[in-house]
């Protein structure tokens, strides 16, 4: 185990260093994303002000605000550049190098990204969670932080990231078939964004959509951890959904291994 860590923690360190080196870009991008968050906040504030009722499809204004900012946080934590990284290496052929190296292909990417995620945890997660809890306290007058739901949230969001990682790696393997991944990448982002509840809580969607979505992995990417954070699920339901997340993680992990093995075999035959 410690040998494993020794092999891969240098990648994490590299990831942290890269994040530090690009911190101006990081903060500029963060600012742009925060704008979107606040735009949605004001839109929903106007919606609630224009409505007779205190709730919108079961959500109060406080719920909606928490939903927006925690979804924003979850988006940052689960974002993975696997598609881009894998796609690039396939395009310029450097993927062949990965095949002959004795280190695991996905582990090197994963540990490098973890470096970035550490940055995100410090710079985004802590302020957002503190901010959200303070907001809830000031608006409702009571301190509503629940350690159990927060722990389940953390666990759920870590699994969500891993699902996102392996999903993106599998998607990146499409570069074996497509010349340019740019368009396909945007398509993935647009669809995943919507279906994981980033714009509209999945609970607001028509029943048919919700039924279809229960069979798809997208809600496991963002919606599940966010709703767990908000305490919208009972403990049994939360654990059940986390188990579902683990299922999807296993599915994409196995898929990525299978594609990788097939690719290695095929390229070994071609390249000799």
């Amino acid at each position: 185990m410690s040998k494993f860590l020794k092999m891969y923690t240098p990648f994490t360190r590299a990831g942290i260093q890269m994040s530090m080196a690009y911190r101006f870009n990081f903060f500029c991008f963060l600012l742009g994303e925060i704008f979107k968050c606040f735009i949605m906040f004001f839109v929903w504030q106007a919606v609630f002000a224009s409505s007779d009722s205190e709730t919108f499809m079961g959500f109060s204004m406080v719920d909606m605000t928490v939903y927006l900012f925690i979804t924003f946080l979850a988006g940052y934590l689960t974002y993975s550049e696997g598609t881009y990284a894998v796609g690039e290496e396939i395009r310029d052929g450097s993927i062949a190098m990965r095949m002959i190296k004795p280190v695991s292909f996905d582990m090197t990417f994963l540990f490098q990204e973890l470096g970035n995620k550490i940055m995100v945890t410090l710079v985004v997660l802590v302020p957002i969670c503190v901010g959200v809890e303070l907001y809830k306290y000031f608006v409702t007058g009571s301190f509503m932080f629940n350690l159990l739901t927060f722990t389940m949230f953390l666990f759920s969001v870590v699994i969500a990231y891993l699902i996102s990682f392996y999903f993106n790696v599998c998607y990146g393997f499409m570069a074996f078939f497509l010349k340019n991944l740019w368009g396909a990448n945007i398509l993935k982002e647009v669809i995943v964004d919507f279906l994981s509840g980033a714009t509209i809580p999945l609970a607001f969607m028509p029943q048919l959509m919700r039924d279809i979505l229960t069979f798809m992995p997208f809600s496991s990417l963002s919606y599940t951890p966010v709703m767990i954070y908000m305490g919208m699920y009972s403990i049994e339901k939360s654990l059940g959904l986390i188990a579902l997340q683990l299922f999807w993680l296993a599915a994409f992990w196995l898929l990525s291994k299978a594609i990788w093995r097939a690719a290695v075999k095929r390229l070994a035959v071609q390249g000799g």
Binding site: L31, G32, V47, N180
Partner: protein, 267 residues
């Protein structure tokens, strides 16, 4: 004067033709990109639709009026995207890689050549969606299409477009001093997202910023609200023109200062 203008237009046509040729090579990629864009628009509208399924009006604006404002917001954005997309490259790579020098050696104004080099055809998609959205609600919103209003509508769009262009020129020109300003351009440009919705929903700080500092409100909400309500033409239309001219003047000034600084830095 007329000869230069004719020459510029001819060159522009040649550049556009070259860009179209390059684009055809990436057909599948282009198609998926186009579908993604359309899908994104569909999702935006689905969001609005879900909101209006529960409330009759958003701060007094009906669903059709909000769609009109949203569609209107896409027009200047698309036109600027169509013609001036290359400005992004100034801040992202052209200056940093030392490639700006070639623009200085040409006998034509460098700002013009930079802009003309890229004709971003996919922006037509944005334009079509904007027009389609407006067309879809044109019968349902109470706009008085007098001759004056039609003229004002056609007039205000180019001025609103120039607000986008001006902002991009200013933030791109920063690269002449700092080598890279792509991220700054990205963040400032992102402020335009606020303009999709009625400016009145925001707090005082944001309202001031998007009205007087990074005046994106004049690219969508203010002019659109004039057509929808007929109120305050001097502010809604007049100030759009004024803001647009002001931003363009500032942008050309900053750009020229930037080029001078770049040249004197020894290239």
């Amino acid at each position: 004067m007329l000869k230069t203008l004719r020459r510029m237009l001819k060159m522009h046509r040649i550049f556009i033709a070259q860009d179209l040729k390059k684009m055809m090579e990436y057909k599948i990629d282009f198609l998926t990109g186009a579908i993604s864009f359309l899908l994104g628009q569909v999702f935006n509208i689905a969001f609005l639709w879900i909101i209006f399924s529960q409330i009759p009006a958003l701060q007094g604006w009906s669903y059709d009026e909000i769609i009109f404002i949203y569609g209107f917001s896409l027009l200047p954005k698309a036109i600027d995207h169509l013609f001036c997309d290359n400005l992004w490259m100034i801040g992202y790579s052209i200056v940093a890689k030392g490639e700006f020098d070639k623009y200085l050696t040409r006998p034509v104004n460098p700002l013009f050549t930079v802009i003309v080099e890229k004709f971003q055809v996919d922006a037509l998609g944005e334009l079509i969606v904007g027009v389609a959205l407006i067309a879809s609600v044109i019968g349902k919103v109470s706009i008085h299409w007098s001759v004056l209003n039609v003229i004002l509508f056609l007039l205000v769009i180019p001025f609103a477009t120039l607000i986008y262009t001006g902002v991009k020129i200013i933030t791109s020109a920063i690269a002449f001093w700092t080598k890279r300003s792509g991220q700054i351009t990205h963040v400032v440009y992102a402020v335009n997202d606020f303009a999709k919705y009625p400016t009145t929903i925001y707090n005082e700080f944001i309202k001031t910023v998007i009205t007087y500092i990074i005046p994106f409100s004049f690219t969508a909400f203010y002019p659109a609200s004039y057509f929808l309500t007929g109120e305050n033409p001097l502010f809604n239309i007049g100030l759009t023109v004024v803001m647009s001219m002001a931003i363009m003047a500032v942008s050309v000034l900053v750009w020229n200062k930037g080029v001078a600084a770049y040249e004197s830095a020894g290239s």
